[in-house]
């Protein structure tokens, strides 16, 4: 395999692994703020236990998120040196801003959140929770600004020619608020909230099914369900405006999302398979739906892939499949949140074992949707690394060989497999032990060294 494909696989793999964790931190950050806030107001011990339990799980995901996050920042330089030189002005600025405005905030106050229960007052503790949640959101802001600039570059000009060309900032705010930033940020943050909410739903539903920690689980479900309902609505709204934006700014990507080859009225597929060689799609299609969705008329013209030379098109079937996987999960998430809220409102949710079992497994849906969404967004951007400006194949490090990338890829595959296994093992362990066990388990002393503690 050549360096390009290996470098792409490595980046996709490391980013996909990493992206399991930050959405959980962002989503649960919001839930922690609500919990800590309710506890501050009511001083009800139940909410305190709840905040402590979820803080422990938060810490678990945070550590892996931090550790695997540094990889991403290094990889731009190690594998994509030409890209780094080309966009250092812009992309580098966003990353540095992320460090200064987000990471310091998040990691600094996380210390107080995790270890400060007895060292600071409840108000200071709540403030720290708030800062951690802000930090997590700021970090989403800057990284998505940077990534959106790759999709819809703005606020720059190109200096130099050929292989020495590079983009320089002309207007910082136009760069930050490039045409896709706001849509993509709100869409991704909604996804993150769902990831956090569904994890809490899943664990709490499982407790209810096992008749353990009932009070705790009921209170948790309410908070999580409220967040899930809000986020699944914003998810739909921002999904719509994102698609609108893609139609305007990245028409080749839009056409690939729905496998739309011939310019003209466009439909939407419920399911399908793209045969790119013959430029056909077989599947279940709602004719005219995409035209209506974008322009309010079923016969409105939508630019098809035929408007683009083959070398300007993204891999159509992959983009199509990931996109439909995301949409499918999104529909299920929306339904589960809605039906869950309805059952709760009618007071039958906690006795409805079927609904609770669905919630236990639904934890996977936002994870799959988040991953699939990113895959379709990034594969759909191909063959460009910066849309319309720099091709992915031109962006590599010239001095890095295929052999080197194979070794680093193998290294990451091993490490991440191990980390993932340990993560699931520990997560499961913590969930089994439950909130009541809080006092004895962490810090790991367990009962072994309890008596020896200073």
């Amino acid at each position: 395999m050549d360096v390009e494909i290996l470098a792409r696989i490595q980046f996709a793999f490391t980013v996909a692994f990493q992206y399991i964790f930050p959405p959980l931190s962002i989503g649960r950050g919001v839930i922690l703020v609500i919990r800590d806030g309710v506890w501050l107001k009511t001083r009800d011990a139940l909410w305190h236990d709840m905040a402590k339990f979820w803080t422990k799980i938060f810490a678990l995901t945070f550590a892996i998120g931090v550790a695997s996050g540094i990889v991403m920042e290094f990889e731009f330089g190690t594998n994509w040196a030409t890209y780094s030189r080309y966009v250092g002005d812009i992309f580098g600025s966003a990353l540095a801003a992320e460090g200064i405005f987000a990471f310091f905030l998040e990691s600094g106050f996380l210390a107080v959140l995790l270890f400060g229960w007895d060292k600071v007052g409840p108000k200071m503790h709540f403030f720290s929770t708030l800062m951690v949640a802000f930090g997590a959101h700021f970090s989403a802001v800057w990284i998505i600004v940077a990534n959106s600039w790759q999709q819809t570059p703005a606020g720059f000009h190109i200096v130099g020619e050929g292989l020495q060309a590079r983009a320089e900032i002309t207007d910082f705010w136009a760069m930050v608020f490039n045409p896709s930033s706001v849509d993509r940020l709100s869409h991704a943050v909604s996804g993150a909230w769902l990831a956090g909410a569904f994890l809490v739903l899943s664990v709490s539903a499982w407790y209810l099914l096992k008749k353990k920690h009932i009070e705790f689980a009921r209170a948790s479900i309410k908070v999580a369900l409220a967040v899930a309902v809000v986020a699944s609505v914003t998810q739909l709204v921002t999904g719509h405006s994102s698609a609108d934006g893609v139609a305007k700014n990245q028409p080749a990507k839009l056409a690939a999302l729905e496998g739309h080859y011939q310019t003209g009225a466009a439909g939407m597929y419920v399911l399908g398979w793209v045969n790119d060689a013959e430029e056909t799609v077989s599947g279940v299609k709602i004719p005219g739906m995409l035209s209506w969705f974008l322009h309010g008329a079923a016969d409105a013209e939508v630019k098809g892939l035929d408007a683009f030379a083959r070398e300007e098109r993204p891999p159509v079937n992959l983009t199509f499949q990931f996109y439909h996987l995301m949409v499918g999960c999104g529909v299920l998430i929306f339904t589960i949140s809605g039906v869950g809220a309805l059952l709760w409102w009618r007071g039958t949710l906690f006795a409805n074992r079927g609904a609770l079992w669905v919630m236990v497994f639904a934890v996977l849906l936002p994870q799959i949707a988040n991953q699939a969404g990113w895959f379709s967004a990034e594969i759909g951007r191909q063959p460009w690394i910066v849309y319309g400006l720099l091709r992915t194949s031109d962006a590599l490090s010239k001095v890095v060989t295929a052999g080197q990338v194979v070794s680093s890829l193998a290294l990451f595959a091993l490490i991440y497999a191990l980390l993932f296994a340990v993560f699931i093992y520990l997560l499961n362990n913590k969930i089994q032990l439950g909130p009541a066990a809080d006092a004895g388990t962490d810090g790991g002393a367990g009962s072994l060294t309890k008596s020896k503690r200073v």
């Binding site: 931090v66 040196a81 310091f104 790991g444």
Partner: protein, 351 residues
């Protein structure tokens, strides 16, 4: 504001960014330096409680310390993208090993205490310690290579690294790598001394002078090698003798450490160690300036603050971001260190 820097201080943006990147990496060395150091010494402690105390002494702060590296990397990317691109792609395998080491030590801190079995804990102890040692070693090797110079050539108008992984492992770089391990071990030992009490505290007190001796010996070898083989690094000291003061302060600060330790003023010892690191980084920066990466054998291909920088408008915007962000970061970082002041004790929130 740019006028202020330009006219009043005689600094242009490129110089300011050389300083800022330097400050970020110095912050990294002083802060993550001590938690890497605690990791380097970790396996020398024996009982589970001792190891837990070591871990918990850095527990609340290690990930904040690591953010200095992340932000330093981001600043390098934004301000000097050519250095970021050339060095990171050139040192490919070294950086991948560094990443793997940093990952291992980070998750080891978090995972170790989650299960009570001795085998579980021992595995993560080893991961934590080896990860810390290899990280420190690689950071030192990278510094050694940047000072020694690396083979750089021009490819398609861009300066690229022309060596391989093993070119990076020459004696000078290895001495710098070992010196860094020793320096961090000393720094971490003093930090742990400051944070502990009782038997472990007395044990650490016995270790401090040993770590100082090892560090000073390696530092002396490194200094001699630098004077003999890397004369460029000391050129400015010869040209402007006032800079010798830095060397004097550096030596005094190191000499002060055993004095403070023997008087049981552990905090002062830690501050001395920080001052020593600050001087070392200042001397390194002074020796390099205005170069960022030296090209050896062909100095014409060196990357310096002008040919490696991003555009003046980016440097200006980033300066505004840094001036808004860094003071805030410093204030709340100081507050958080204040919250966690004093001796570390094991409680139910500990690792």
């Amino acid at each position: 504001m740019m006028e202020f820097f330009q006219d009043t201080l005689g600094l242009n943006l490129n110089v300011v960014w050389f300083l800022l990147v330097g400050i970020l990496f110095t912050g990294y060395a002083m802060l993550d330096g001590f938690d890497l150091g605690v990791g380097i010494l970790h396996l020398f402690t024996k009982t589970d409680d001792e190891r837990r105390l070591m871990l918990n002494s850095i527990g609340p702060v290690w990930d904040g310390n690591e953010v200095w590296l992340v932000t330093g990397g981001g600043a390098l990317f934004a301000a000097f993208p050519n250095v970021y691109a050339t060095v990171f792609s050139g040192f490919y395998l070294a950086f991948m090993l560094l990443l793997a080491s940093l990952i291992f030590r980070a998750v080891a801190i978090e995972f170790r205490g989650k299960q009570p079995q001795a085998s579980w804990r021992k595995s993560w102890d080893i991961g934590f310690s080896i990860g810390s040692i290899v990280s420190a070693l690689l950071i030192g090797v990278a510094i050694g290579n940047i000072a020694w110079g690396i083979p750089l050539t021009v490819v398609d108008g861009q300066i690229e690294y022309a060596g391989g992984f093993f070119n990076l492992l020459h004696p000078y770089a290895l001495v710098m790598g070992l010196t860094t391990v020793a320096l961090f071990a000393m720094h971490g030992c003093i930090y742990a001394l400051m944070k502990t009490e009782g038997a472990l505290h007395e044990k650490l007190r016995g270790w401090v002078n040993k770590t100082i001796v090892v560090f000073v010996a390696l530092y002396a070898v490194g200094a001699i090698l630098t004077l003999l083989y890397v004369p460029g690094m000391t050129e400015k000291l010869r040209a402007t003798p006032w800079f010798i003061l830095l060397v004097v302060v550096n030596i005094l600060a190191i000499a002060n450490i055993p004095r403070e330790v023997s008087h049981r003023r552990d905090f002062s010892a830690f501050i001395s160690s920080c001052v020593a690191m600050l001087c070392l980084m200042a001397l390194f920066g002074l020796g390099m300036f205005p170069n960022l990466v030296l090209s050896n054998p062909d100095p014409a291909n060196s990357l310096h603050i002008y040919n490696a920088a991003s555009s003046p408008s980016t440097l200006g915007i980033m300066l505004v971001i840094a001036l808004i962000g860094l003071p805030v970061v410093l204030v709340y970082t100081a507050c958080i260190y204040y919250v966690f002041r004093g001796k570390v004790r094991l409680d139910r929130h500990s690792y």
